[in-house]
Amino acid sequence: MTDTVTPRLALRGITKRFPGCLANDAVDLTLLPGEIHALLGENGAGKSTLVKIIYGIQHADSGSMLWEGAPVSVADPAAARRLGIGMVFQHFSLFDTLTVAENIALGLDDAGPMKALEGRIRAVSERYGLALDPQRHVFDLSVGERQRVEIVRCLLQDPRLLIMDEPTSVLTPQEVGKLFETLRRLAAEGRTILYISHKLEEIRALCDGATVLRGGRVVAACDPRARTARELAEMMIGEELTAPERAPQVAGADGTALRLEVRHLSTTTDNPFATNLKDVSFAVRPGEILGIAGVAGNGQAELLASLSGELPAADQGAVLIDGRAVGHLGPRGRRDLGLAFVPEERLGRGAVPELSLSENALLSGYARERLVRRGLVHFGRARGFAERIIDLFDVVAHGHRAEARSLSGGNLQKFIIGREILQKPKLLVVGQPTWGVDAGAAAAIHQALIDLARGGTAVLVVSQDLDELFVLSDRIAVLFHGRLSESRPTHSTTVEEIGLLMGGLFGTATDEEER
């Protein structure tokens, strides 16, 4: 780094303590004008706390902050915005029932009249290629469009530092490419971008500098382009990373027996926010992992609910388990036939946040693990089952009495997946297995799913994360607007091909048309 340029932002010795943990421990960070700088780290490494301090949502216990050479203290987000700091949040801070323009007005301190603001929104979105209609309601927008709202909101304040918190986790590869173009254009104008992510290949492609956090401390500062993704990952987790091992598929996996078969499944709901499935057909054999890719909101929720039994099919022959029509059965009837299910939402659907781990273990395992006798709960067995999960799946928790919501995302996900796997299902359906989960836990979950399949279980994984699907799946199909593409063997397809299918280009991969 050069000494002649005044850093846009310099943090010196930032320390922040929460009850029971040291979130930031004397963190130094230097960001130069025009630089795209990555902030890397596992969940809980202190990335979020650090950017919240920069943006004024939280306050450091000690340490100093220099903005363009001058010491500043950022009291609140409005003060940060006045300095020229903008932030795009990971979980979008948008208001569903308000319009795009209203949402943007809320993030501006000088919004002015609505009509004029709508004009400014159109101008900025054209300049940076971020198409947006100011008058639409946010609940109507795709995830990619929602992110554009956040970015446009930031750009309208003409920020000199733009903080992006995990911006690509919900985008298709093509949308990611577009976002990177926008970010590079912004950096070329002299703006600084602080890019938070744990997607290492993206960071290597995009960023000029990187700071790695682990346990609240800076463990490395490097040029990500000069490192391999593996090196970066090992800096992040502080130990060697073991990629999931793939044993060859068990013999007989390509036989004729189908564990799960879905025939011409269509759904009809009058919920205007749902995407109905249209004539979806596929099959999964024992020992095989089928991956279903697609951007959220293309029917994943409906597909998962149709398979779990929460949304019974109109035609009972539309879903078959081991050749038996189960379309009319509810979740319990299907579980009795050997189905296990891990939903997308960990808290509230996969687990009850306020209940302890042993009570959560009981909720799905009571029948197969015989945790209930004559209507009475056998707490000893439930505790034993929970402890077995905690032990075998390396769940970090304060014992089986810990409330589900007290666990980190990765640990709770390991617990939920462990709970289903230990029941030795014949068929496992999983939605977003590693959503918001750190790299170490994700690797463990991937290994567990592969091992389960190699033991003869049929596994169906619905995910937006293509890297994950390419690691796990034997075959991949894509869901778009409620329709499912033909599946392709993973070894004979590419991320680009699947990405085009995710944009809706079934069978016409040569067509360059964009949505």
């Binding site: 949502i57 801070s93 208001f95 029932t97 209203e102």
Partner: protein, 309 residues
């Protein structure tokens, strides 16, 4: 023709009966739009009624009375706000407690005022318009608070949907975590909304004790606070529909009197059930319309906000 002419006073008394409901429901609408559920409207109204009466009686001025009622409502609202916002108590339980507290408090304050009559407020006849047949007595011969209540409807709608402060208030009620992340003072905004709601409920109560039946009697609100709460949901949180609902419910109240006067043998209890039955029917009807609920119901309603979580 004479039969038709009677419609004028009937509609007029319906609008008068709707006025306390309108004030209380508009206040509660603003509170709920900010994400707070205040079930204490009945208690706030009673406190406003007795304090308004006391202030009006001792000063001899109706204006002082109404202002006194509003202040009393706002003060009790501030207590509610302190409990649910800053001490983070459960909103449902606190609201119910507030109603019970208001019943007792108003009875205590009102001990010395029971049975004292007061002179009724003067009617403001709008020139020319009040001489129209039917429409004149129906719409243009009322006391000042009726007109102010009618003006409050577009004023609240304008505030919520046209001003920046209203936008911020709706945002806080929709997603308080996001509003906080953007730097808005969630608790302060909610506290102000609760003060406004309290004052409006206080005015609604004072209207009863100073204008509608100018006297104080224990429990004189007779469940109107609950109807006001139902009205907000009935109106799917839209000010214009609150007005329609208030007229409808006011009409049912008036109908009780007229039906008895005309000698129909309908038990009055049945008629006083009607507003609630109507609410239940409407609730069932609107629950089927997911879009409308999603667009208008404040998503953070009744949820406790922890600033540091």
């Amino acid at each position: 023709m004479t039969d038709l002419l009677i419609l004028g006073p009937v509609i007029g008394s319906m609008i008068v009966a709707a006025t306390p409901l309108l004030y209380a429901a508009l206040g509660e609408l603003v509170v709920e739009k900010s994400g707070v559920l205040n079930l204490g409207v009945e208690g706030l109204m009673l406190t406003g009624a007795v304090c308004g009466f006391a202030a009006g009686y001792s000063s001899g001025s109706l204006v002082v009375g109404v202002v006194g009622g509003a202040l009393a409502g706002a003060l009790l609202g501030a207590l509610f706000g302190l409990l649910v916002l800053f001490l983070m108590t459960n909103q449902v339980a606190t609201g119910l407690a507030l109603t019970l507290f208001g019943v007792g408090l108003s009875a205590l304050i009102g001990q010395g005022y029971v049975g004292i009559p007061m002179s009724k407020a003067g009617v403001i006849r709008i020139p020319v318009l009040s001489d129209l047949p039917i429409l004149g007595p129906a719409l243009f011969a009322h006391d000042a608070l009726v007109y102010l209540g009618l003006l409050a409807v577009p004023a609240v709608a304008w505030f919520l949907y046209r001003t920046r402060a209203g936008l911020v208030l709706r945002a806080v009620g929709e997603n308080h975590a996001a509003a906080h992340a953007l730097g808005y003072k969630v608790l302060r905004i909610r506290f102000l909304a609760i003060l406004f709601g309290g004052a409006m409920s206080g005015i609604a109560g004072a209207y009863l004790s100073l204008m509608y039946t100018p006297m104080w009697a224990e429990n004189m609100t007779a469940g109107r606070g609950w109807i006001a709460l139902a009205l907000v949901v009935f109106a799917t949180w839209r000010p214009g529909r609150v007005l329609v609902g208030a007229w409808l419910f006011g009409g049912v109240t008036i109908m009780q009197l007229h039906v008895q006067g005309l000698g129909f043998a309908v038990p009055s209890q049945l008629l006083s059930m009607l507003p609630y039955l109507a609410t239940v029917v409407v609730l069932v009807a609107i629950s089927r319309d997911v879009t409308r609920i999603r667009l208008n119901a404040p998503a953070s309603l009744g949820k406790i906000f922890h600033p540091d979580a």
